[in-house]
Amino acid sequence: MSMVLVEKASSLTSEQSHSLLPVLLEYQKKNPCNYISEENVKEIAEKLNLSRSRVYSTASFYSEISLVPRGKHLIRICCNAPCENAGKEAIHRAVKDKLGIDVNETTEDGLFTLEIVNCLGACYMSPAMKIDDQVFGNLTPESAVEIIKKMEQTDEE
């Protein structure tokens, strides 16, 4: 899969190294633990003819790319001023208590990883959080916990 992926990343340039970022995101998506592993770094370096340190450097720069294994679902709570003013801290606490983990930790069952994130562009409905690709706004501590509970149920089914 990976060679195709490299070729497809962009057709606008012949230089393979230019596709490093999309390739990293694609590998991360395909990795069951939602991250870029050391094996991934080696493989990508070889395919794109880049040094491993160069691949690692780019991977380590971007906050959406993780170099440690993560859970199946990523919960990101916005930490910028509009959300902070709207009560982000209470949401944060409720979610932490619900999951029994701190920021950048993963639940024991491997289902959730909690992270903080910068502005989701949902300030008109702050406080907001994002779970995987979906944004939830106008949160209360209760509604945030409810959303997570629902996800747990869906996952069991």
């Binding site: 491993r52 340190s53 690692y56």
Partner: protein, 575 residues
């Protein structure tokens, strides 16, 4: 020719060529602006910001390293605003830098320390960062101390763009930024070739050679030890820089005198075994040519280069000459031939070498390098370590009495001297191979085509009717190009010289700090002067070498040579 433009520098009307930077314009007009990340041989980075100046009419300060002068520009380099800003920036750097200057290996030649002194910084108000990252002591030659790193990016640039080995790079972002191999791995895990170019480019003490001077001091102090020293070809044109002489000074006599003053029992010359290398390697080439051996043959003198090919192009190892490097030919000869001549038992002989190179430390410690029955070379020191030893012994290099190398391992030719410059091994080999193959005397001994700082050089030589194409590469990025062309089968070279470091050994990772390309060129020029001043300029005419074969080795590529002077390589592909 570039046209001149008129600018104002601190109010003074001056004329400068268009297209130059403010930093350069200031320099030409007697003002040295502060700099840290700037390196004359590298791309402009403008990271550190200590070179900022004011331009009238512009809102913000601008970095002088990257801003090009414009007609009518009014530049102010010394306003209160500039001074305060630059001082604050240096203060910010120092707050993130351990205050261990007095015990730092760069004490005395640290660019940051000089900058702090230049600006008259007396207090650091900024909150200091407590960091205690462990030292990386994993490699045989280099020590990395990331606590001292100021993130200028000079080492990463040289590692990625000059050498293209790609070990050091900056990772993470913001205050987590860290210059290191991936995953913060140690140098021994990642295929570092130990060339030490990062050391030369580091402005502070964040990466440096493993200091082995104490081992040498102990040996010198040991009455049972007969301590002999060999000096590589390039040391004679660089050691004086350790004592503030301008680059390109030939100080062979002082070098020998200084080593005697340190207490070495015999002072020999690696040039002697450089001549020997030419005989062995020349005959190996002829043998390969006549017997359908693997071609092109690649030279093997440069241990950083050997580290590179073993780890990155192991499939090409059969191309590499089996000859040991001059340093490693010297070791076993000192402990066999010289032991016999002098009657001193090999176990009592301690061999020290003074090398321009950090990778030589690794080479000396390779497990197979004990063909004499003992460790062939006990300690390899860099030029900088020798400088430190001399300073700590209070030896005033500049007023020393000159001395001469000892016999017989101190006798050499001009061909050996140029080993220290890119193209030198090739030129020395051609001088000998031509005469051996054709049986005729070479009229013009100087091969201009293989000289100079160009990355890849080519020449064609007529060997008794057979045209032979040769190439010379220095700096691993260029070596890589050659390796790729061998792999793809598109080159038709017979013989290729590769030196790991830009400019060859004169630009080695163990050389004095400030080894810029301009400085490298001056050292190269000095080596060619040494060559021209020598009576004998061809290795096969070295009388001591002739005698060595008569008395001991019998013949080139013979059994003894095979045992003592040749080696084999290992596939160490980075996994």
């Amino acid at each position: 020719m570039k046209e001149n433009i008129a600018i104002r520098l601190n109010g003074n009307h001056i004329t400068v060529p268009s297209g130059i930077t403010i930093m350069e314009a200031a320099k030409r007009n007697g003002i040295k602006l502060p700099s840290l990340c700037h390196h004359p041989d590298q791309r402009v980075k403008a990271n550190c910001r200590v070179c900022v100046v004011e331009i009238e009419g512009r809102k913000n300060l601008v970095p002088s390293c990257s801003t090009v002068v414009e007609e009518g520009m009014s530049i102010l380099t010394n306003t209160l605003r500039v001074r305060e800003t630059v001082k604050t920036i240096v203060e910010l750097i120092l707050a993130d830098h351990p205050q261990e200057c007095l015990t730092c290996i760069r004490n005395g030649n640290c660019e940051l320390r000089q900058l702090s002194d230049m600006l008259g910084l007396t207090v650091i108000q900024a909150e200091k960062k407590e960091k205690r990252l462990p030292l990386d002591l994993s490699s045989t030659a280099l020590v990395r101390d990331n606590n001292k790193c100021i993130k200028c990016g000079r080492c990463a640039e040289v590692c990625h763009h000059v050498q293209e080995v790609g070990i050091l790079y900056s990772h993470n972002r913001s205050t987590d930024i860290c210059v290191s191999p991936e995953y913060g791995k140690s140098l021994s895990e990642v295929g570092c070739v130990l060339c030490g170019q990062c050391v030369l480019s580091c402005p502070v003490g964040a990466i440096y050679e493993k200091d082995q001077t104490s081992e040498v001091w102990s040996a010198l102090d040991d009455k049972r030890k007969h301590v002999v020293v060999q000096t590589a070809p390039s040391i004679r044109v660089s050691i004086a820089e350790e004592f503030n002489s301008p680059p390109g000074e030939i100080s062979t006599g002082k070098l020998v005198g200084a080593l005697r003053a340190l207490g070495f029992d015999k002072v020999f010359d690696t040039d002697f075994t450089a001549d020997l290398t030419i005989i062995e390697e020349g005959h190996e080439l002829i043998h390969r040519l006549q017997n359908g051996g693997v071609l092109p043959m690649l030279t093997s003198c440069s241990p950083g280069w050997i580290n590179y090919i073993e780890q990155y192009y192991p499939e090409l190892l059969p191309h590499v000459s089996t000859c040991k490097s001059p340093q490693q030919m010297f070791g076993p000869l000192a402990k066999t031939y010289y032991s016999q001549l002098s009657g001193i038992p090999a176990e009592d002989i301690f061999v020290v070498s003074i090398m321009p190179c950090t990778a030589k430390k690794h080479e000396a410690q390779r497990p197979e390098m004990n063909d004499s029955g003992y460790r062939d070379v006990d300690v390899a020191l860099t030029t900088r370590e020798l400088g430190r030893m001399l300073r700590s012994a209070g030896i005033d290099f500049n007023t020393l009495l000159e001395s001469e190398y000892d016999d017989p391992l101190g006798i050499s030719t001009g061909a050996a001297a140029i080993f220290g410059a890119t193209g030198g091994v090739m030129e020395a080999a051609l001088r000998t191979v031509y005469e051996v193959v054709t049986g005729k005397e070479l009229e013009e001994v100087e091969f201009e085509d293989v000289r100079g700082m160009e990355g890849i050089k080519e020449a064609e030589v007529d060997l008794a009717g057979t045209p032979v194409k040769v190439a010379v590469a220095h700096g691993l990025a260029h070596a890589k190009q050659i390796m790729e062309s061998i792999k793809s089968g598109e080159n038709d070279y017979t013989f290729i010289e590769v030196m790991c470091c830009p400019g060859g050994c004169i630009g080695g990772g163990g050389q004095p700090y400030g080894s810029t390309n301009a400085q490298r060129q001056k050292r190269i020029d000095a080596l060619y002067r040494v060559d021209r001043n020598m009576e004998i300029r061809k290795s096969h005419e070295n009388p001591a070498i002739k005698k060595l074969y008569e008395e001991f080795l019998i013949e080139p590529l013979g059994e003894k040579s095979h045992h003592l002077l040749h080696t084999s390589y290992t596939n160490r592909r980075v996994g």
